[in-house]
């Protein structure tokens, strides 16, 4: 059975034990959007130290793509979505 995460609503398959960054890397998705300070979000250190690879997960908020394991149906977005007042959600 194929398991998928969803990156900006696109289905991305993953294998057991893979992190979000692993699954996205297979499709050459390496640019995860921009931080509030304007920095490119991408995998840099790969072990949770630099916080450059944060992605937006619908229930938890910002999470590290390099550490967080994939779960079937995980909904991820490349930048924090706007809240109801039309402001960027707080990091």
């Amino acid at each position: 059975m194929t398991q998928n995460i969803y990156w900006n609503n696109q289905a991305v398959k993953f294998l057991d034990g893979e992190t979000i960054a692993n699954a996205l890397s297979r499709l050459n998705i390496t640019h995860f959007g921009y931080s509030l300070s304007g920095q490119t979000r991408t995998v840099f250190c790969g072990i949770g130290q630099c916080q450059n690879c944060l992605v937006w997960e619908e229930t938890t908020g910002l999470i590290e793509a390099c550490l967080t394991p994939c779960k079937d149906g995980l909904n991820l977005h490349s930048s924090p979505p706007l809240d109801q007042k039309g402001e960027k959600s707080h990091e």
């Binding site: 992190t19 931080s35 300070s37 920095q39 490119t40 991408t42 840099f44």
Partner: protein, 441 residues
């Protein structure tokens, strides 16, 4: 079970060795790691159902030795992977959370051993914040866990033996690097290098053989000066400069940078009356061979302290041997700093988290450390200064090396922690803990 319990943070060689000897002395150990499995950077395990990339005989032998001893002591050890350690407060209460932040615990161990290894040093340069420019360690991590190299042309640059080690692993994964750009010239110190222990030389020889067979070009006394995206935005273009001043450009998909290591001891405010110890690369950068002995040594120190008896330790000479070896390696690879921050384009980012440039730093003109943090925002970002504080200090004091200051150090928590994780945390009490939480209630 023993009444004493120790928290070991980091399940690499040092952490595993420390946990093993503590358990052997009937002390309960909770071993936590952010990664999906034990092993740390050097012995990172492949994901389930993935055929691991073949390791060197030395690496395999060490892992077998360490893991057999560790597995024999399971009665006293609980292993929690994908668990974050946020830090420890002045009362000795530590916060542990799972990666989703749904399970948060305050615990009060009798002692803590920090075995969080090293951070990679990457010298800032124009373009180092672009997508697909990564630390070499992150490429190796992806390789070891998935057995697949990033798809596309990879170039490796920086300095030290890790370049040839990771380069050889990329060859084994079927994607040899297009080039290795090494800042030093280790062959000018042949006699010095022959003083290295045979296992170090054998390892280097194996890596070089793999690289030669895959025809990977190695350029010495060279560095990557600048990285840009190509005009069609589909790839990267690196500018490689050699010591004779010549430059050339190369089109590439991934850049793996590695300018050395430093201890990953950021954010720990180690209160002397708390029983907090550091071991392995996080205490002194001596690599995996020494970490095995150091973990054991520190584990025995803690066991002696908690059981009030003196437990003898015999590996001192072995440890000293590895310290000497690391000194030799440092000398072999020593070279003038290839990139001068003073002369670099002012728009070059120094602080990745807050997107602060050399120009932002210049505008502060002679700042105190407090001003650098509060006005400049340097070392105030989510990485706790791990990737900028050295360069900020080198820029401001080019003549003092290595820079010594408190910028980026001693600040709780050790990694970004949600308020939710603290509010929701429940106290796990094994002993009569007088934790901060109970007092607050």
């Amino acid at each position: 079970m023993s009444e004493k319990n120790v928290l070991v943070v980091g399940a690499g060689i040092a952490g595993l060795s420390a946990a093993t000897v503590l358990a052997k002395n009937k002390i309960s150990v909770r071993l936590v790691d952010q990664a999906g499995s034990i092993g740390g950077n050097l012995h990172r395990q492949a994901n389930p159902n993935v055929q691991p990339i073949s390791r060197s005989p030395e690496n395999k032998k060490r892992w077998k030795r360490v893991i057999e001893k560790f597995n024999a002591e399971q009665d006293y050890i609980s292993v929690n992977c994908r668990v974050r350690f946020s830090g420890i407060d002045q009362k000795g209460v530590a916060l542990l959370s799972d990666l989703n932040g749904t399970d948060n615990k305050f615990i009060k161990p009798d002692a803590v051993i920090i075995a969080t290894g090293a951070s990679e040093r990457v010298i800032p340069r124009p373009g180092w914040t672009l997508a697909n420019v990564r630390t070499l360690g992150s490429i190796q991590t992806e390789l070891k866990t998935t057995s697949q190299a990033p798809k596309g042309k990879i170039i490796i640059a920086g300095s030290g033996p890790f370049l040839i080690a990771a380069g050889a692993e990329l060859c084994k994964a079927g994607n040899p690097p297009k080039a290795i750009i090494e800042g030093g010239y280790p062959y000018s110190h042949i006699l010095k290098s022959l003083r290295l222990p045979p296992s170090y030389l054998r390892e280097a020889f194996d890596y070089m053989q793999t690289l030669i067979r895959a025809r990977v070009p190695i350029y010495y006394k060279s560095h990557i000066r600048e990285i840009k995206t190509t005009s069609d935005n589909q790839a990267l273009e690196v500018c490689i400069a050699s010591s004779d001043g010549k430059t050339r450009t190369q089109e590439i998909d991934y850049v793996g940078l590695h300018d050395g290591l430093r201890q990953n001891d950021y954010g720990f405010s180690i209160d002397p009356h708390l029983k907090i110890f550091t071991t392995g690369d996080c205490r002194e950068l001596l690599g995996g061979r020494a970490a095995e002995f150091d973990g054991k040594k520190v584990g025995l120190e803690v066991a002696s302290l908690l059981t009030n008896q003196s437990i003898p330790y015999h590996h001192k000479r072995e440890y000293e041997k590895h310290r000497q070896a690391q000194n030799i390696i440092r000398k072999i690879y020593a070279h003038e700093p290839p990139l001068d921050l003073q002369k670099m384009d002012e728009q070059t980012v120094i602080c990745r988290c807050e997107n602060k440039t050399i120009n932002d730093l210049k505008k502060l003109s002679n700042p105190t450390i407090r001003e650098m943090r509060l006005l400049g925002r340097f070392s105030m970002g989510a990485c706790q200064g791990r990737f900028c504080s050295e360069w900020v200090q080198r820029f401001l004091n080019p003549d003092t090396s290595p820079p010594k200051s408190t910028l980026g150090l001693s600040r709780w928590p050790v990694l970004p922690t949600r308020i939710h994780n603290i509010v929701e945390a429940t106290t796990e009490s094994t002993s009569q803990s007088n934790s901060l939480i109970q007092e607050n209630k």
